[in-house]
Point group: C2
């Protein structure tokens, strides 16, 4: 570091949740601006269980932009990072550093380099929208650091969108719609909150992380191939989704679980249908995913109306919505019955997140799992195989809030003296 | 049996092949008449390897219509059998019994009961269009017995269609189109031959029969559900298939394998996509099916142009078309490499049908399979699992001829004295 005046480091830390789409985003009309071919709707997951935490720091001593993801330095040269940084710098304002009273002027941000450190509280490779949480968190943290004020509501979501399409939906809590927009510059392709997280308190979410040995197609290249080759995708985007968006908005606003579940399941299946209609076909669901779908469909049919909805993103993991906490406990019992953990797995390692669901299910040990009995709806089904280890682990969670600042100093991932990743 | 005059039994035996659709039939516009929502195109399989053989017999001594399928008597009261029998009786003519000179008059057929015995030369449960071959064979054999002459070309196919939609395509050899038709009574919903079996001699067909432990949805109920609930199926039938029918006709007539393969694979995948878009979703492909698709797609990509096409009906079995015999031998090597038989399986039980492909592949024993090396295109793929027993067996076959009469007495499945199933 150079002279004394240039040794300061200013930083902000924020957290942003993952979100799970219930009306799926698949296909871009503009690859550069990440503009989608249809609107989508998501549910924000509790950041306590599924989120990214990101510290952004600036200092005149930094020689270049740098980025650490989950403890490892990676390149910040990717166009998606560069686009987000450029757009945020362009919106920076004069910022006063509280501790010293020093002023960073609006125009200074163009020359100040940024260090970024980000980590997820869930496995990155699990296909649980880590990039959505990550880019939402980056943009939100930069807005805090640089004193960015939105000129119109949703402006930050349009910038997060440049990092990862679905990131725009992770800035808000509760139920969020990404409006596809019409403008060529993408300024109206933004996320809006349909209802906040306190709106539909009954819903409980259980995620089954499925062991996947096959390499998946990345969503970026997958959706490119689908747009190019699937005749069904175009029809879906233009004819099917617009109607479903209206129905889903209504279902969410009126907390109509039956409608919510029907549309959620149908839209997940239709998204995977367009993947299969792609040439060469893309498969994200595997036999375990199909068994999870079977478990839910059987139960719903037996119950006479939907108890649980399922949805699958670009991977084999099931995200399931239970009607209420009681149903969630029954769902957990069913999942533990059909998908027991491997013999050497600790129960607390198998069920992550909100432990109160596990308590409601009355399961405290592997022995409790062994003594679970088959649910009524599987009575007539021969050879229902129970293979331990087909599911890696379960996460119990809730509808969560949007991005927020972490106030405490201890939350910073960057060392305020060195400006580097904290050890 | 009553007086001497009534002891005669007259019978005919015929054989009809299975067929495999390369443009799929899925969905009816009329459930009773079995009228489809789109035209379809199939390839007729060699009856030597995949066919039904059916004997039909009539005698004044028979007290009711009776039916034996693969050695077991089953009810002939189903509407599909009754429809076929009624339509054939209505078209019967005066028939002279060669041996005795006795004449069965046109109107006699209405009161004469029919005994039917049918068997397949391949497993019924394997999902290899046994009902298509069966109904085509029944109608063809009855036409022989009753002296039915078609009033218009394809009339018999329209009657076979009443038994099982795709049966109409099994009356002809080679390449066959089932024209959906427009008439309300279904008279123009008939099969026509696009090219005979000798037209495209290079093609070789290999079928991988995949072990399936899950109970499948029957095609009848499956397509009903799809018509009711899949938004994508309607679009497929109305917009996608008509164009593909034209392209496929052209590809077949010009023997353009690249086009044939592209359309065949795309149409199989799109059919399964509409199954997935059904509510609740229908899954016919399993993880082994997906691996078979992967094997072909990888190879085709590596080769720079299609070597093999795949198609899957309402089940997990892959039907693969190899460009020529040399490619077929390479395909067989690849299949045996990735899907070895279980350790205790005899090679001749694992590879059925045309054994000359096995010879061309240079595989004579399990040891030869062990020493097969990985094909070039899998070099970069980690963890390519080779699990013995994932595929039950393979059938090597060719494009085959349509229905025909079996002349020899020994071929009859019904005893000419008792009128019952031969022991």
């Amino acid at each position: 570091m150079g002279n004394e005046e240039e040794t300061w480091v200013v930083m902000k830390t924020a957290r942003a949740p993952s979100n799970i789409a219930v009306i799926k985003y698949w296909g871009k009309r503009d690859e550069k601006l990440i503009l989608p071919i249809n609107s989508s709707i998501s549910v924000t997951l509790d950041p306590e269980h599924l989120s990214a935490t990101t510290t952004v720091a600036a200092s005149p001593a930094f020689e270049k932009d740098r980025l650490w993801l989950n403890g490892k330095e990676v390149s910040v040269e990717g166009v998606r990072y560069k686009n987000c940084l450029r757009e945020m710098r362009a919106r920076a304002t004069d910022v006063v550093i509280e501790s010293s009273g020093k002023v960073i002027r609006k125009e200074d941000w163009n020359s100040l380099h940024i260090h970024i450190a980000s980590e997820n509280n869930f496995p990155t490779a699990a296909g649980l929208a880590s990039s959505a949480a990550g880019f939402a968190c980056l943009v939100y943290a930069l807005a805090q650091l640089m004193g960015v004020q939105e000129k119109y509501e949703g402006e930050l979501t349009a910038i997060a969108r440049l990092g990862s399409g679905s990131a725009c939906r992770s800035l808000y809590g509760g139920f969020v719609e990404w409006k596809m927009g019409q403008e060529i510059d993408g300024t109206d392709s933004i996320a809006v909150q349909l209802a906040e997280e306190s709106h539909w308190k009954d819903l409980v979410i259980i995620i089954a992380v499925v062991s996947s040995r096959q390499k998946e197609t990345s969503s970026t290249s997958g959706m490119q191939e689908s747009v190019k080759t699937s005749p069904l995708l175009k029809y879906r985007a233009e004819e099917v989704v617009p109607k479903r968006i209206v129905q889903m908005e209504k279902a969410i606003k009126s907390m109509n679980f039956t409608e919510f579940a029907k549309i959620t399941c149908a839209d997940s299946n239709q998204f995977h249908a367009t993947c299969l209609d792609t040439s060469p076909p893309i498969f994200y669901l595997n036999d375990t995913s199909r068994k999870l779908i079977g478990l839910v469909e059987r139960w719903n049919r037996h119950a006479g109306e939907p108890q649980v909805a399922y949805t699958f993103d670009a991977g084999p993991n099931a995200v399931m919505f239970a009607k209420n906490k009681e149903v969630a406990a029954q769902l957990l019992q069913r999942l533990l019955y059909q998908f027991p953990p491997s013999a050497d797995t600790d129960i607390s390692r198998y069920v992550h997140g909100d432990q109160s669901i596990l308590e409601s299910a009355g399961v405290n040990s592997l022995k409790d799992i062994d003594s679970l009995s088959a649910p009524a709806e599987v009575a007539g089904i021969p050879n229902l195989q129970r293979i331990p280890g087909e599911v890696d682990y379960l996460i119990c969670t809730n509808v969560g809030k949007g991005a927020y600042v972490l106030g405490e100093q201890g939350a910073n991932l960057i060392d305020p003296v060195s400006g580097l990743l904290k050890k």
